[in-house]
């Protein structure tokens, strides 16, 4: 029993080390995100995972960017101010008819660079489902379940392992 607890602890801590290492290397707070909705189809489908990378370069149109709530959409408008070099950004999911203003805070018309967590630079299909199932099956209905969710923030919106919530 003790052996199992220790090996469990080692798995969890190495996952944490890899996760934190990725955050440092990519410069993004959430370097791997799971695609939750179909708003970027047919490019990205539900269950794919995206790799995000953040740099100080100003955001430009066409880049696919993710925010704190992991909505990864494409930038369609950029206005960069002369003096401050601050950037106003508007995003839209490829598969949505409307731009994202209905998702922004009330009265907010633009995002700024500090809202952006990273640019999508690569992706893997279907792997998101694997990750979610693996964690869920291992920890279903145990008190550890909640703690893991805290440490693995890319598993978002999965209150229940049988389905994903989130209607963004």
């Amino acid at each position: 029993m003790l052996v199992q607890i220790v090996s469990l602890g080692m798995i969890v801590t190495s996952a944490l080390i890899i996760w934190k290492g990725l955050i440092v290397v990519t410069g993004s707070e959430s370097p791997v995100v799971v695609v939750l909705t179909g708003s970027m189809e047919p490019g990205f489908k539900r269950g794919d995972i995206l790799f995000l990378h953040m740099s100080k370069d100003p955001i430009r149109t066409g880049e696919i960017v993710g925010r704190e709530i992991p909505i990864v959409h494409r930038v369609i408008k950029v206005h960069e101010h002369q003096e401050s070099a601050e950037v106003d950004i508007l995003t839209k999911g490829d598969n949505n008819l409307e731009d994202d203003r209905f998702l922004y805070a009330h009265g907010q018309l633009w995002l700024q660079q500090h809202h952006i967590m990273g640019r999508a630079v690569g992706f893997l299909q279907y792997v998101g489902w694997v990750t979610i199932f693996k964690v869920c099956l291992f920890f279903l209905n145990t008190p550890i379940d909640l703690e893991i969710k805290q440490w693995l923030p890319f598993i978002v919106h999965s209150d229940r392992c049988t389905g994903l919530t989130g209607h963004i």
Binding site: P42, D99, F123
Partner: protein, 167 residues
Amino acid sequence: MHSFGHRANAVATFAVTILAAMCFAASFSDNFNSPSPTASVKILNINWFQKESNGNDEVSMTLNISADLSSLFTWNTKQVFVFVAAEYETPQNALNQVSLWDGIIPSKEHAKFLIHTTNKYRFIDQGSNFKGKDFNLTMHWHIMPKTGKMFADKIVMTGYRLPEQYR
């Protein structure tokens, strides 16, 4: 050491590792592609050109967008996302990029196209700087792979100018 669980875990881990290596190799093969795309955009008509009630200029245009992007496709390409953005400078903003039109090219057969369209997204300024404004039209594309790294590039077309007067 040989329980079902251990064996299943070993097989699954190995399978995932091999699949990941294959995905990486597929993505890496995209680096050997040297594309030669062409594009051109013609403004056929300025439909209207006004200052909105909030003080921002807006213009509506009809465009002919033509391109041949078939050399961008590899066996690892799922689709190419292409868009045309207007880029210009104003006294308040060092750079403005406004996407006017975008589309998805699902396969190589669709990659040579001519589109006749009004601007899909509204061309609105932050302010009232459009009269007589010189601007570039840039065609950007994102090659979205079946797996792995995404590539993006663009062609800049210069020499466009908005009318001196509202109409």
